[in-house]
Symmetry: C2
Subunit: 428 residues, 2 copies
């Protein structure tokens, strides 16, 4: 396959005509495909249906330590759910608070609380002229949306396969005390599927921030979300690393079973130091009498322990793997050697990250949409929704069926080719 | 029965000696009773156990309009849960957002959002020098805790059997634009069990607040929580009254099934104007991808409709009524004619409010505690936990068994007598 950049203007023009014809055909097919969000597919959700048999009218509704989950109370979660979520994150149960159904909500609350009440006695962020967050990008759009919502200035930090550019992170947090946080997806990152190296985690734990209320927002969303049996990433436990480095209060870790049990009805948790948890509870005790403990009990009894979780996730992997492989094989076959894009091949998580030629991402997403396929908005993986290179596209293979994924990827590569040819022609 | 105030010093002293002896006996019994919170008892929770049979691994997990409740999405709640909660509150489903398991959390969020983002475009409250709330009292301690947590100044408004003193409410909100809200429990109020009269609701709807971001926080926590078949309170629908009065955006209504299904795992909702809901959704869409829709579906399918809810609540009433009647009959028998206290006899809700002689509430609660019975802290029903008369005590009959309630009330009346005698002796 000859790289597109080495084609003559005439070759590009003829290729363009050919691709346009194919694209018109594709448009005629009336496709309706959605690769926009990291949503589990229906067959994946079916695998968790036995969760609903765990509790019934004959069940004992008491926790291991005798609490009636049906009544009020239990602000920080029931004992067995704490244990389960601690195992999921690789931390101790005493460092865990189990909340409602969404870790996003815990993150939002954590930022909101810092804005209104500060962090362990610091000035509430709403009383400061300027608050900034570091945002490794490409990253998770919903993280960036939270900081933007609270008027927090976002500074993009480039991602590498080992994690964020740590030279930049270290320098910025050390010199600027208005930097109060950093968003991280440390394992199978959204959207690239990168996992932070041991060195990266250790450098995070050893940060010397100017702001004493600087916190790492460690969204361990894909802790057990491997795609393969023989290719799995593991990361160091940030909580114990921070403790060892003399920064015990520097990190909040978040996780959930949203992509383990049900996306709409899982359980979510935060793990942090006793100092941070005590600070959080000062607000939490005003905010609620307790989260849904029936759902917590249901999850704890169904999955039992980390082995139960892992066994369940292997079934998910069996469903997800073919979808990822379909995408990857079509990308390889159709785009290999053309030098009009690169993509990641992650060991886990929910996404493949595609890097198009600079200035092409928006046009590709628009072309796909015109032909009936919805992708995540180009730019969404960057703060303020603006990708400075306009080149990153997030592919979410989880929701469609493998057949739909094949159709979708065929359309995607066609759009990539067409937009790339048009881009290259601009300079001929 | 002779009123205590008419007893001579000698009579009081001899009565005191007698009561003290009885109290020492009571202390010796090693009682352990909890009347502190409005918690359902275990047998009441047992009545909802069939809720857990509603969904199982064979269930159709789609809503009436085809949404898979197991997946992400459905920010404002599923259609059938909206209908159920709308019926519960007596409003239209399009005015409802169904959230997580606790209406307290929705109230907290609503205040928090106003603090950080303002209300429909108003200045965020955190940018104002002073924000005040009106607090009808005695009232619900957790309401007051929210406003106190956000540094909002609380102004006590006296309660009457028809609702808050509306002359005072009208005057204050009209003249002070720093007054941004008022806490209301309009039906079977906490702790008195009063229900707002038609006139009160209409006067609320017709308020002319100086602050355009003034909102009524209408906590309809006991909408269907009647104790009797033949003595039931009903209140006007505040949403439509506000609309009629030209103040469509002035109210947020809150409710939940916490005291219908399970206190730890019900569903909660807010009802308000389209303007307020749109304002709320701007934050909600950042905050979560959706609340627990499996729990919403479970509730909607189990209760089916308002008739299902009402039938269920009649069973609750059958359990609660004897507990209330036990308390009331002992109060009547032991304190009737003594003129050392008055109490409410509500048609519904979770509390009986006891008004002791001025300056006696704290001492009564302390005496009860010393003998093994926990009551809600005296003062808790007032802003900042300070009852200026030190006379209100909240009695929560729901959690103990009827036998325990009898024991508890016997002890309570003994402590009331003893403390009252001591108080009266101060002035002899």
């Amino acid at each position: 396959m000859k790289a597109y950049k080495d084609l003559s203007k005439e070759e590009l023009l003829s290729l363009k005509a050919e691709l346009e014809a194919t694209y018109e055909d594709a448009k005629g097919k009336g496709l309706k495909l959605d690769m926009s969000r990291g949503k589990p597919g229906a067959s994946q959700l079916d695998m968790g249906m036995a969760l609903l048999d765990t509790l019934n009218s004959g069940s004992d509704m008491k926790t291991v330590d005798g609490m009636d989950v049906r009544n009020y109370g239990g602000l920080d979660g029931i004992t067995e759910a704490k244990q389960l979520m601690a195992d999921l994150m690789g931390v101790k149960p005493e460092n865990v608070i189990v909340c409602g159904n969404a870790s996003l909500q815990i993150m939002y609350d954590t930022v909101s609380r810092s804005v209104t009440h500060g962090v362990m006695g610091s000035t509430p962020w709403c009383k400061l002229d300027k608050v900034k967050f570091l945002c490794p990008a490409p990253g998770y759009d919903r993280h960036f949306a939270i900081t933007q919502h609270f008027g927090i200035e976002m500074i993009t930090v480039p991602m590498t396969p080992q994690g964020p550019d740590m030279d930049m992170v270290e320098r910025l947090v050390a010199e600027d005390e208005t930097i109060k946080g950093i968003w991280c997806v440390p394992k199978y990152s959204n959207p690239q599927g990168y996992s932070y190296s041991e060195e990266t985690v250790k450098r995070f734990a050893a940060l010397k921030p100017a702001a004493k209320d600087f916190r790492i927002f460690w969204d361990n969303a894909y802790a057990i979300h491997h795609l393969y049996d023989d290719r799995q990433d593991e990361i160091l436990d940030i909580l114990s690393e921070c403790e060892k480095a003399g920064n015990p209060d520097m990190v909040y870790e978040f996780s959930s079973t949203s992509k383990v049990s049900f996306s709409g009805a899982g359980i979510a948790a935060i793990a942090s130091s006793q100092g941070n948890l005590a600070d959080m509870k000062k607000s939490l005790t005003i905010q609620t009498i307790g989260f849904n403990k029936v759902n917590q009990l249901q999850h704890a009894r169904y999955f039992k322990n980390i082995d139960g979780l892992k066994a369940h996730m292997r079934k998910h992997a069996d469903l997800l793997r073919p979808k990822f492989q379909t995408v990857l094989s079509i990308l390889d076959k159709e785009l290999g050697g053309l030098e009009i894009g690169t993509w990641t091949n992650p060991n886990g998580g929910y996404f493949i990250s595609f890097q198009a030629l600079d200035g092409c991402a928006k046009a590709i997403v628009a072309k796909c949409k015109e032909a009936g396929m919805v992708l995540t908005n180009a730019g969404a993986t960057y703060p303020y929704g603006v990708d400075p290179q306009d080149s990153n596209i997030r592919i979410a293979p989880s929701f469609p069926t493998p057949e739909e994924m094949a159709q979708a990827t065929e359309l995607f590569v066609l759009c990539v080719k067409l937009v790339s040819v048009e881009k290259l022609l601009e300079n001929k």
